[in-house]
């Protein structure tokens, strides 16, 4: 069987399931990562002392913990205290912790970059702090965070392959199985690599369009 036929008839169909799982991991992780990242960032900038401490501890812990170790703890460790997660759920949870910790740093930086006077003006109009944060600060800070968040999204695409280490058969895992069975490591991992590259490229293009769409006219 020549390589083209192998790729078309065996490899791509075999990778399809893994590809869908990879998309699932990303689709579950990214929105919660951004959402929790925003909450943690707001907590760090505007929270009272305990909130600031907690949000900072969250970021420090999940930035400092190797992701693979985190996945092992969630999947292999938690059952010993009575919490059994499916591999997919454990992977998504680990990714969310990691992703949101980094996202919060980008968002925090953007919040700090918004001129203080806008916050003051919001308060002077009678808005509560929460209203000012929601309607004035975050809409601007999130726009400024887009490049950083996209960066993190690209990392996520690639580190989603770590889920394979806790038995989630995603794209890389599916590839590994095909490669082992047919002894076609080069062809298989080349194609798998191209799929990741395709996803990253798509993300970059999408991010560019998004950034243009939400740009504030000046």
């Amino acid at each position: 069987m020549d390589q083209i036929a192998f790729i078309a008839e065996i490899l791509l169909p075999a990778l399809w399931g893994g590809f869908v799982v990879t998309l699932g991991l990303i689709a579950w992780t990214a929105p919660f990562g951004v959402l929790i990242g925003a909450v943690v960032a707001v907590g760090r900038v505007y929270g009272n002392r305990p909130v600031r401490f907690l949000s900072r501890a969250y970021v420090t812990f999940f930035k400092g913990c190797p992701l693979l170790l985190l996945l092992f703890i969630l999947y292999f460790g938690l059952p010993s205290i009575g919490i059994s997660l499916s591999p997919f759920v454990a992977a998504v949870l680990g990714f969310i912790f990691c992703n949101s910790a980094y996202d919060s740093e980008y968002i925090r930086g953007s919040i700090r970059s918004i001129k203080e006077g806008q916050f003051t003006a919001g308060l002077a109009l009678g808005m509560t702090r929460g209203q000012v944060i929601r309607h004035v600060i975050l809409p601007q800070a999130m726009r400024r965070s887009i490049p950083g968040l996209v960066n993190e999204f690209v990392y996520l695409i690639k580190y989603s392959s770590l889920a394979y280490m806790i038995t989630v058969i995603e794209l890389t895992g599916a590839g590994k199985m095909v490669a082992t069975r047919y002894f076609t490591y080069n062809e298989t991992f080349f194609v798998v690599g191209m799929v990741y590259l395709f996803l990253v490229t798509l993300t970059t293009i999408g991010a560019h369009l998004l950034e243009r769409r939400v740009a504030i006219p000046s």
Binding site: K115, A124, H135, S218
Partner: protein, 248 residues
């Protein structure tokens, strides 16, 4: 004159930042429709004073009363008071991600709970009042300084405030743009708006003030009608300060 006329009463305000005492016991009352103008050298607490009135800065001591209700006590619903006290800033502080129209609308919707259509109508009315209706769809970055400041005045006016605070409203503007902003403020005075203005525009101050207050080192050194203060100040210091501008 009855006490009903008194909109704002400020009693013995003190404020220190670190070891620097910025306000050393400032008191005055503001009557309905009155324009009080604060003048004096930079760093004498004029801006701090305005910010203590709407509690953007919490004073160390002293009270502020709006319509006889104390704003400064601990349990006061400060957001409700702030909604009745309009403020205009030196740097405009418009919300950069919103059009001029949305800048004026947003507090109407979020603070006053207006529906969008109602807020829009009100916002357009206020923009018209400051001559900015045709720029309603522009973003702050697309406006000149003078236009931005007029929008920020419309934003404050839209809340139908009992009193307006102007914190050096023309200090960040090119000289040729100050006129359009001062004209708007002047028209408000003529319409009977109650206003406290901090400014370095002496000619404007003299022409618009019902009461001119000269501040230095955290106290009101002297106050009176512009005519009194310009021609026969009691203090040498007021004379020096006013004299420099009289030459202009």
């Amino acid at each position: 004159m009855t006490t009903d006329d008194i909109i704002l009463r400020v009693v013995g305000l003190h404020k220190s930042f670190g070891t620097t005492e910025v306000l050393k016991g400032v008191s005055f009352t503001v009557r309905k429709g009155e324009t009080k103008v604060f003048i004096g050298p930079s760093g004498t607490g004029k801006s701090t004073l305005l910010r203590c009135i709407n509690q953007l800065i919490i004073p160390d001591a002293g009270q502020v009363y709006l319509h006889g209700e104390e704003v400064t006590h601990a349990g006061a619903k400060i957001n409700q008071y702030r909604a009745k006290i309009g403020m205009v800033f030196q740097n405009f502080n418009l919300f950069d991600h919103l059009t001029a129209l949305r800048n004026v609308e947003i507090a109407l919707m979020k603070v006053k709970g207006m529906k969008e259509a109602e807020a829009r109508e009100k916002a357009l009315f206020e923009l018209r009042r400051v001559g900015m209706e045709d720029r309603a769809d522009h973003y702050p970055a697309q406006l000149s300084g003078g236009q931005a400041q007029r929008v920020s005045i419309a934003r404050a006016l839209a809340m139908d405030p009992d009193v307006m605070l102007f914190d050096e409203p023309t200090s960040a503007l090119d000289p040729e743009l100050t006129g359009e902003v001062l004209e708007v403020i002047r028209s408000l005075a003529q319409a009977g708006m109650t206003m406290l203005i901090v400014t370095h525009e002496m000619r404007f101050a003299l022409s618009i003030a019902d009461d001119l207050l000269f501040m230095e080192h955290g106290t009101i050194l002297e106050s009176g009608s512009p005519a009194d203060l310009a021609t026969s100040p009691n203090f040498e210091r007021t004379r020096q300060f006013a004299g420099r501008f009289a030459e202009l």
